[in-house]
Symmetry: C2
Subunit: 410 residues, 2 copies
C-alpha cells in the first residue's frame, strides 16, 4: 500500500471535522470544586446583581453628600451618628436621615438616604454620639452601585473557557455552584513493534525503547483527556486487531504509533482501515515531519483511529496539529498558547508541505526563536525546545529577523 | 494593632526566604507514568548513549561508501546482498564486506563495515541476490552515530523542569523509569467572616458569598499543591484558633483570608501571630492592591501562615507574587509564563508601592495589553483579564506604547 492520497494538513483537518461529527463531545454538570481546568460547555450568564446592594469600599461613615459639601480640615461638619452596619447582620432597616450618618465597614451595606461614604481617617467621633467630618464627599464616592461589578443578565464566562482559579471565584461570587462542562475524550494509546522495550528494560541488540506511548499518553492527559489504557504490542496482526476492536467499546480515540519502516506502516494502515467501517480518511499528510500519518473513522462506534509517524517529534507534532486541533474545534476551547518571536536563522521550507520547526526561546525582554535542528528520529531536540512554528505549504522559507508565531509546548 | 511594619514586596520575600527554610520541599521518587507535571528535584544525566548502536534513518541498504563512489543513474554499481537487518532481532553478527550490502529498515542497526545507507528508492534488487545502486553515498550518510542524539553523561533535563510530555518521552528513551521530583506543599485554605455564605446559598441582607477560598484553593491545586482542606469559618476566635493549630500538624502553608475591614484584619493578625512561634514576619506590604497582607512562621511545625487581603483580586495577586514566588524559589521551578506587550493606555503608579495592573491581551500578531480597571473589591475584572503586569516602587507610571512584561494567569 503506497501513500497515494496524500492530503494537506487543511484537507486532513477538513475530513476529520466533516466526517467525525460523532466525536463531538458531550457535556456534564460538575460542582465548582471540581470545575477547575475543565472547559465550559455553554456561555454562563449571571442571574444576580453583584453587589446585590450598594456596598462601601472603605471603613467609614455613610453620609448624604449634600450634608458634607462644606466640610474641611479647618471647619469640620458635625453629624449625628444614628447607627452602625455590622457585617453578617441585617442592616437593611437603617436609613441615614439629613444631618445624620451611619458607620459602615469595608464591604458593608450603604443604608438608604446615604449616597457617599467618608473614609474613617477623615472622621472623629465624640463621646456624645456626634461625628466631626473634615472632608467633603462627592455623590457616589466610595460606594459600589448595585450590579456595578456584574449586572443581572451579564455574561460571566464564555463557552470554551478553560476554567482558571479566578473564573471559579467569579462563579462562586455569582452563586453558581455547578457548571456545564465538556466531557473529555477517552483515549487508547497503542505502540506496536517487535523492537520496542520499556524504560525499565535494557534493549538487546536491535531493540529500542518505546517512547511514543509515554509522550502521547502524557500529552493526552495534559489536555484533559481520559487515558483509558496504554498498550505496547508486538508486531502481531491478531493482537493489534483485537486491541483496535476492543478499544471501540470504550474509547473515542485510538492513537497508534508503529515502527517507521515502510513495511510496518503498511501493516498499520491496513489494520486501521479494517477496524474502521468508513475506511481510511487520510493516508499520508503533506507535512514535514509527519508524512506517514493515517486517519480512519468507525461511524458505528464513533471511534477515530489515527496512526502516527514512528518518530517521536513527528508523532507529537502531528498529534498537536491534527488531533488536538480537532479537539479544540469540537470543544470550543482554543488551548494553544502562542507568542510572537523573531527567528535567529535561515529556515528552508519544504515546498508543498507544511513544515514544523522546533525552536527554543531566549531569555530576556524580547525573546528570540532559535531553531533546534533534529535529524530524523532524534528525541533530545524535543525536550530542548520550548515550542515550534509552522511554515505553510506556500512559504519559501524564513530569514533571520522574520517574526513567527511560536506554539508553546504544554 | 496598626500596620506599623509595612514591608516592600522585596523585603517580605527576603524574610520568607531566609526565615522559612523549614519549608524547603522534600523530594520523592515517582515512576514515569506519574511524573508528568511534577518538578524535577535534580539534574538528570543519561547513563546511556542514544542511539546505542549506529542507526539508519531510512529504509535502504547499508554499504561501504567507497564501494558506491561512482554509482549513478546511467551506470549503477552492482553489490551483493549479503544479509538483512530485522527490527527486534539480533543483527549484531552481520558485517558488510567490500562489494556487499545489507538491507536495513528505518531505525535499524547499521552493520560493521558499512559507513552509509543508500535509500531504497535508489536501489534495484535482482532475483540473483545482486543489487543495482544508482546513487553514491557520502561517509556517514543516513546514519545516526552512537550517542549522536544523547551521549552517555549528557544532561537530559535540568533540575526545576516541570515535566512536559516530551520530557517524559526523553526519559523513557534513556531508560529512566522513575525520577526524583519535588514533594508539593500541603495547604490549608481558611476563609473567615460572619458575612460569608457558600455559592449554593442565597445571601441574606448584609451577607456576601465566599470567593477567596474557591480562588485560592483552585490556584493552589493548579500549582500542584496538595489542598488538605478548605474551611469557611465564622468570626469566632476559638474556632479560628483551633483551625490554625490543627493545620500545623498536616500543612506547610495555611492561607487565611478574612474580611477587609480594619477590625477583622486586626483579629486575623493577632490570631496568626499567636499561632506562629516566630511571630509575625510581615504586617502590611507596600503593594497596590495587597497592602493588608500578614505573614508569620511557626518554626516548631514548619508552618507558614499568611493572611491575604479580603478583596479577591488583591488576594490572588499577593498569593502569586509572594507565596507562589517562594514556591518557585524553593522548588527551583520558574513557573511564570510571561510575554511582552505594548500597553494601550496611561497607568499611574503608586509611588513607594509595587503596583499590579490587570490587563487583557488583544488578539492578533502583536498582542497589546489593554488595562482592565477594577474598583476595590470587584471580581469580574479578574476573569476578564489574561494576566497582569508589575510596576516597581520607583516607576512613575506607564505611557501608551510602553512595553511591559505580562504575567499570564494560569
Amino acid at each position: 500500500m503506497k501513500l497515494l492520497t496524500v492530503d494537506t494538513v487543511s484537507e486532513a483537518r477538513k475530513k476529520l471535522r466533516e466526517r467525525c461529527s460523532g466525536l463531538m463531545p458531550g457535556t456534564e454538570e460538575v460542582s465548582l470544586t471540581e470545575a477547575a481546568g475543565r472547559i465550559l460547555a455553554f456561555d454562563i450568564f449571571s442571574e444576580e446583581n453583584i453587589p446585590p446592594y450598594r456596598r462601601s469600599i472603605m471603613d467609614g461613615y455613610a453620609v448624604r453628600s449634600s450634608d458634607v459639601g462644606a466640610a474641611g480640615d479647618m471647619i469640620p461638619t458635625m453629624l449625628k451618628v444614628s447607627g452602625e452596619v455590622l457585617l453578617g447582620t441585617d442592616s437593611s432597616g437603617l436609613t441615614v436621615e439629613p444631618g445624620c450618618c451611619v458607620y459602615v465597614p469595608t464591604g458593608g451595606y450603604v443604608p438608604e438616604g446615604a449616597d457617599a461614604v467618608v473614609m474613617i481617617e477623615f472622621c472623629e467621633a465624640f463621646g456624645d454620639g456626634m461625628l466631626a467630618v473634615s472632608k467633603s464627599a462627592a455623590h457616589g464616592e466610595n460606594v459600589v452601585q448595585i450590579g456595578e461589578d456584574v449586572a443581572e443578565g451579564d455574561m460571566l464566562l464564555p463557552k470554551g473557557r478553560k476554567l482558571r482559579p479566578q473564573d471559579i471565584g467569579v462563579l462562586a461570587a455569582a452563586g453558581i455552584a455547578s457548571v456545564p462542562v465538556i466531557v473529555p475524550w477517552r483515549v487508547t494509546v497503542i505502540s506496536t513493534g517487535d523492537e520496542l522495550v520499556g524504560p525499565d528494560e535494557t534493549p538487546g541488540p536491535g531493540q529500542i525503547r518505546d517512547i511514543n506511548s509515554y509522550t502521547i499518553a502524557s500529552r493526552s492527559a495534559a489536555e484533559g483527556f481520559s487515558v483509558v489504557r496504554v498498550l505496547s504490542l508486538k508486531d502481531d496482526d491478531r493482537a493489534i486487531k483485537d486491541a483496535l476492536e476492543s478499544a471501540k467499546a470504550d474509547s473515542d480515540l485510538v492513537v497508534m504509533s508503529g515502527g517507521s519502516s515502510q513495511g510496518k506502516k503498511d501493516m498499520s494502515a491496513e489494520l486501521i482501515g479494517k477496524a474502521a467501517d468508513s475506511g481510511v480518511l487520510t493516508h499520508g499528510i503533506a507535512a514535514k515531519p509527519g508524512k506517514p500519518t493515517i486517519t480512519a473513522y468507525d461511524s458505528k462506534s464513533n471511534t477515530l483511529f489515527i496512526g502516527l509517524p514512528g518518530h517521536p517529534a513527528a508523532a507529537l507534532m502531528v498529534y498537536e496539529q491534527v488531533l488536538i486541533w480537532l479537539w479544540h474545534e469540537f470543544s470550543g476551547h482554543d488551548g494553544g498558547l502562542k507568542i510572537r518571536a523573531k527567528v535567529t536563522a535561515n529556515i528552508p521550507a519544504a515546498p508543498g508541505r507544511m513544515t514544523f520547526q522546533l525552536v527554543r526561546l531566549t531569555d530576556g525582554d524580547e525573546p528570540e526563536a532559535v531553531p533546534v535542528f533534529a535529524r530524523s528520529g532524534m528525541i533530545s531536540p524535543m525536550s530542548a525546545s520550548d515550542g515550534y512554528f509552522v511554515m505553510s505549504e506556500n512559504t519559501e522559507g524564513i530569514r533571520p529577523g522574520d517574526t513567527v508565531t511560536v506554539h508553546l509546548w504544554r
